[in-house]
Assembly symmetry: C2
Homo-oligomer: 342 residues x 2
């Protein structure tokens, strides 16, 4: 752990100037003899370039940050799994932030962009405040937002279409004959919470079902909250026959509660989740879920960012990923597993 050699050390050892060392190290035209001497010295000393000094000079860190709302949510991990290799292939390191959906932490990340320790940022905020927008407008490095931002915000944006997603789920449940379809949502002041709540209402209308407040319960996007919410809902509407859950974690909480209450899934109550995470396929019974394309969104975000890092300014771009209903046992019964329809 001794202090490492620098180009100065090498220069002395090889009996040349630091400029020559730098040239050799960067493959610039140099006399063979000099190249040899420098390489030899570098090898013997076990020289490794100092990335920090290099960044200071070049104004590029070859690092990109990914700020996710909740590192414990497999939907974000699915994004991470796609983002990482794309960046790695392009020679970028990935710096991770978990903001726990705390707006202040997100602002913090945005702020720290100014510190220039990364060349760009991919961010997935749950709430988008005025402050977010102001900071995005003045960010000192390219930002890609996974989630929705108002039109005109000068950043690249990758969106899910949870509205259509909810619609697919409700149609499915309706076709299965369900008529008392409840919704377990996350906070309404979050972007996804608001979108999914509105979509639920719309989708019910589309199939001719009335919207009833008693069928809706708001919690948070975690499994424990899902349990709590479904307990409440079940007490209020004992004969509820379907549950549209705003994400898979909530849906798993629902399965827990239903099992404990002796309700059969899907015979008594059908359950649909959202995000189609690994957990959906592995749960018991396996969970019908609306895929919002977490993986695709992650990949698209990484590619948008890379493109901007490489080709600089251009119009902000918007990518929308289409949802897909993945039908499994929690709505389709024992027999049919893994069927897919769009």
């Amino acid at each position: 752990m001794a202090d490492g050699p620098t180009i100065t050390t090498i220069a002395e050892r090889a009996g040349v100037s630091i400029a020559s060392v730098s040239r050799v190290l960067n493959g610039l035209p140099t006399r063979q003899e000099t190249v040899r001497k420098v390489m030899a010295a570098a090898d013997e000393l076990g020289y490794v370039r100092n990335a920090v000094a290099r960044s200071l000079k070049s104004r590029r860190t070859h690092q990109v940050a990914f700020a996710m709302a909740d590192i414990g949510n497999p939907a974000y991990l699915a994004m991470l799994r796609e983002i990482q290799p794309v960046l790695k292939a392009a020679g970028y390191r990935l710096v991770l932030h978990s903001t726990d959906a705390v707006a202040a932490d997100e602002i913090d990340v945005l702020h720290s962009l100014g510190e220039r320790y990364v060349d760009g940022l991919i961010m997935s905020p749950l709430r988008v405040t005025e402050t977010h927008l102001r900071m995005l407008a003045t960010a000192r490095a390219p930002v890609v937002i996974i989630g929705s931002v108002p039109d005109g915000t000068p950043v690249d944006n990758v969106r899910a279409d949870s509205r259509t997603g909810v619609r697919l789920a409700i149609d499915h449940l309706h076709m299965l004959g369900r008529r008392r379809i409840g919704m377990v949502n996350g906070p309404l002041d979050t972007v996804p919470g608001a979108a999914r709540g509105a979509a639920y209402r719309e989708a019910l209308a589309a199939v001719g079902l009335p919207y009833e407040e008693k069928l809706v319960e708001i919690g948070d996007f975690y499994r424990a909250e899902g349990r709590r919410a479904v307990e409440t809902l079940l007490r209020r509407v004992p004969d509820i026959d379907a549950l549209m859950c705003a994400n898979d974690l909530i849906a798993l909480g629902a399965l827990d509660v239903l099992r404990a209450a002796g309700k059969r899934v899907p015979q008594d109550v059908a359950v649909v989740g959202m995000d189609d995470t690994d957990l959906a396929a592995a749960s018991w019974p396996s969970l019908t879920s609306v895929s919002l394309g977490s993986a695709e969104r992650g990949k698209a975000a990484a590619e948008l960012l890379l493109d901007r890092l490489q080709h600089g300014d251009r119009e902000p771009r918007l990518v929308t990923v289409l949802p897909r209903l993945v039908v499994r046992a929690s709505t389709a019964g024992e027999g049919s597993e893994g069927g897919r329809s769009s």
Copy 2:
């Protein structure tokens, strides 16, 4: 995205020297009037410290790297979930690497430590080669290894005890009356593969069962490989009555195949996984699994590293995390879920 202000910009604006600006920004004793002027200028300009320049000078980046073998394996994600908050709380950023268990990539990470873009490294190698050891011995920043390294390697080390873990599982299966207990392992040239293979043999001996080669199948630590291996095993030994799988992904693959083959779990074949990932609790049937304490190991690793970053040199330390058998439906039958015993 214009070029940001530097302390020089501020100095000009405030009519003081850059030295004074630096002092104010770092809270060193300064005249009130100067403080005011500098802060005002900094605010107006929206100044943010340049982390790169700061690192060059201070020789600290406040970044730590985590190199995991497979970002798609929930066991590593469980570690990540613990590591991240610990580092964050201490003011460190986390840089992520996924090496996909390719030794060359791991060497690469170790090598890039010399670039000094991080202050330390947590690494979880599947294979430990001579080169690994040589590089660990000369690493230019503190390294914590999650996994086993030979005694005497000058790094902090957090270990699981998969030997005892396998033993717990085999005892459990034996007590349930299983006598043809197969093993689906990962590559034997990996540290965990070797350990678990040997442990299986030992554990069988301990309960008085013979070791039979036909009961063992080697694949890789992925679900698809688990499927393949179990298909082979099932063809070779149709009346096998239990499967010890080297991790949860393999075990899920086993469940897939058994279901397709019309075998009931656990009545016909009992299945045990390892790592006790989220997937184990959520699978169908839920999976009995040996917890090797992924979360605890991650946390311990982060704490060891922080401690070393803060208190410098000391003897390398070894932390061993104890395994725990988590019994679920895949061995205990429909009725009993989530029981725990050590």
